[in-house]
Symmetry: C2
Subunit: 149 residues, 2 copies
């Protein structure tokens, strides 16, 4: 199976990864959450090659994760902003941050600290059940596969 066909798997992870699962894409989305807007912002912050950034931004716009809008004419210049679909990747980024903080601590503590405005405390992201808000554990989840027609 080619990578370009993984969205044909009957699996939401595969479908998600078909849009955001390649080498630089999630890093660009991270930068978008950190308020990168312009092409050169993304190039500098992500560290990816210019042609790769151009290609990925184009794909992200095509899949509706970023929006490309003119911020000036003469010369025409565009910026990239997260759409609702893109902002909805916040949980993915935050769980990655939490995992990276836990397992890639270089001894100096996490590179970035997160404070929750609601309760004022330092925190990290955990996943919870949408219904009862209890922390989610693999053993506490029952998975049912939909029948194929």
């Amino acid at each position: 199976m080619r990578w370009s066909e993984i969205d044909q798997q009957t699996c939401s992870v595969a479908r998600a990864l078909s849009e955001i699962g390649d080498r630089w894409t999630l890093l660009l989305i991270r930068d978008a959450f950190l308020r990168a807007r312009r092409f050169d912002d993304f190039v500098e912050r992500s560290g990816a090659a210019r042609n790769v950034v151009a290609n990925r931004l184009e794909k992200l716009v095509a899949s509706g994760i970023l929006e490309r809008r003119a911020y000036q004419t003469r010369p025409e210049r565009h910026e990239y902003r997260l759409t609702e679909k893109g902002r909805d990747l916040y949980p993915v980024i935050m769980t990655l941050v939490a995992w990276g903080d836990r397992w890639h601590d270089d001894g100096a503590g996490p590179p970035v600290r997160h404070q929750h405005r609601g309760c004022g405390k330092r925190m990290h992201a955990v996943v919870a059940c949408s219904e009862c808000r209890e922390a989610l554990d693999p053993r506490e989840t029952r998975v049912t596969v939909r029948k194929e027609r």
Copy 2:
């Protein structure tokens, strides 16, 4: 910057992606959560080429996300199991599932349904503050970058 150097960024997302951010890796981890254990399980379920699976499993073992252990001798055969570090990726997978379910619905509903044993309801994963359990929103989070030495 080459992909092989992104773990040098002072960013937990970058460090996390240096281990799990390439084309097939997260799909293999998904399969591990779905109880794939043997080499051919991973090949069949992921859809990746055998050499790619071999290479990725080796890397996942090297980074401590999977553990390779013999399940028989004569002939020696090994299986791959998630370590604690690997199981700790559950939140990442579940938020990807939730995003895929929401944005890649093919009209027939999500491929897999998740029921929380605790409360008995159908649910999806949300991210919450580790301290107060309130749902997390980008606007409700304050980010402080650690000073570089």
